[in-house]
């Protein structure tokens, strides 16, 4: 487990970084489970709403949005495929994502081409994730 500024980043999964996305992804029985990471949860604040607006996204496409009292953003799919399940519990109570972003997944996707996971925007491992998060924090400080 990587911890930076009290934000946890489990190292048993990958992270999608394109377009400022802060999504984690895991593979499970041929399906890809997606969620927001602790950085996205911390930036948004207590989530009040999220919606999934796409059914069969292409890689890099926005598949929905999440919102808090003062912040709104999109979330993106790292892979092309079909959304086969949405976490209805998290949709009904988005604060579950704040409470534990790595349990409260958002969608499950059946990928069209699993080789798309070999992308420069999908990272894993302590060194790469740490470097990425520190760079993101630096950008925030410069704002």
């Amino acid at each position: 487990m990587l911890v930076i500024n009290d934000m946890k980043f489990p190292l048993d999964r990958k992270y999608y970084t394109k377009n400022g996305a802060h999504m984690w992804l895991t593979e499970d029985n041929g399906q890809i489970k997606l969620g927001l990471d602790a950085f996205a949860s911390e930036m948004a604040g207590f989530l009040t709403f999220f919606a999934v607006t796409s059914e069969e996204p292409d890689a890099g496409e926005a598949i929905g949005s999440f919102e808090s009292a003062k912040f709104v953003s999109r979330f993106y799919s790292p892979i092309s495929g079909k959304i086969v399940e949405v976490n209805k519990a998290a949709m009904a109570n988005p604060k579950l994502i704040n409470d534990d972003p790595y349990s409260a997944w958002i969608v499950s996707i059946e990928p069209r081409d699993i080789s798309e996971l070999d992308s420069e925007f999908i990272i894993e491992g302590e060194e790469k994730v740490s470097q990425w998060i520190h760079e993101e924090l630096r950008k925030i400080e410069e704002e």
Partner: protein, 344 residues
């Protein structure tokens, strides 16, 4: 955990003081800490649109029923707020202490103001509850405590709406005439331009009635701080709609023209339904500048609005009603598309 030791603070203030996570959608910086006096008994008034109403449905499954002006207001110890304001928020310029209708509220507001005066460099505003103020000495006491600006939340634009929503219509204690009398006391004590009325657009008034009350306040030496009605879950007006963007933009622009003394209401024309159809001056440069559509509120030392209330009246996924920053080109383009839209 009650005032004066504790107060409620807005979500924006809690974020700014790093009490809760979150950042503002477009990188806005909060200019004013908004504090709300708190007692377990609550507010003694019944204003029909208000999240603090004594009669608001407290037992509901609607999670938005715990909100006030759209968001949560966590309860925080005053000493913690002051320590965090001094440590974390150099961009803060002002603190506003808001009374509620409760017999302890005035004295506790005074003691909180004194504490901020002694322990911070922030300018101080008081958002007063006139029903709890009986004479002009009250205004002198607020000034002596360290406040330099005052807000009077009249909220409803006409005496009829005021009485219906805040007075006899809801078995409430408030009186239109007394509110304006207290406003006069405050202008006498604090000076012209140092007092503002809060008015909520969308409580059933026409644009002409709204602009008339803005002009009335201006003639008395008070500015207007505009709010857009937001239906509070659990309140008796929870099913009402927000005012249209067209209506809100026209009122914002008229307010700016009147408060900046560019022109006055006499030059404006209204249709038979009270909609503003002609501002009487060339509005192009004013709209393009964008400042008219920024949040209106108490100012900071730079003369710009300190009380900028980011996303105070709308969800961040909706078009902004009160800009907490000077609108950018894309914002001005959107404002132009809204301002002459007369559909409700």
């Amino acid at each position: 955990m009650e005032s004066p030791g504790f107060v409620r603070i807005s979500t924006a203030a809690a974020m700014t003081l790093k009490l809760v996570p979150g950042k503002f959608n477009r990188g806005e910086k909060l200019g004013c800490l908004n504090l709300l006096i708190h007692y377990d008994e609550g507010c003694r008034a019944n204003c029909s649109y208000c999240g603090l109403s004594d009669t608001r449905d407290a037992v509901t499954e609607d999670p938005s029923s715990d909100t006030f002006i759209r968001v949560d207001w966590p309860l925080v110890e005053i000493d913690d707020i002051i320590r965090r304001a001094n440590e974390h928020a150099p961009h803060l310029q002002r603190v506003c202490v808001s009374m509620i209708t409760h017999n302890k509220s005035f004295d506790d507001m005074i003691s909180i103001m004194k504490k901020f005066k002694e322990e911070t460099d922030l300018s101080i505003s008081g958002l007063i509850a006139p029903t709890m103020m009986m004479d002009i000495d009250s205004a002198f006491k607020i000034k002596k405590a360290g406040a330099d600006m005052i807000g009077v939340a009249i909220d409803a634009a006409t005496p009829e709406l005021f009485d219906e929503m805040r007075g006899s219509g809801v078995m409430g204690p408030h009186s239109w005439d007394h509110y304006w009398e207290v406003l006069d006391w405050c202008v006498d004590v604090f000076g012209k331009g140092m007092v503002g009325i809060h008015i909520i657009v969308g409580l059933g008034e026409t644009e002409e009635e709204m602009i008339s009350v803005i002009q009335k306040a201006q003639d008395k030496g008070a500015k207007t701080h505009l709010f857009s009605f937001f239906p509070e879950g659990g309140s008796s007006m929870s099913k009402w709609l927000q005012p249209s963007y067209g209506r809100y933009r026209r009122v914002q622009l008229a307010r700016y023209i009147i408060n900046e003394e560019i022109s006055d209401m006499d030059q404006m024309k209204f249709d038979s339904e009270g909609q503003l159809i002609d501002f009487g001056i060339n509005i192009n440069p004013i709209v393009n500048e964008g400042i008219a559509f920024m949040t209106s509120g108490c100012s900071g030392s730079d003369g710009m609005v300190a009380c900028n209330r980011p996303y105070g009246n709308e969800r961040p996924s909706n078009p902004i009603r009160n800009y907490a920053f000077i609108p950018e080109e894309r914002d001005v383009k959107q404002i132009w598309s809204q301002i002459f839209d007369y559909t409700e």
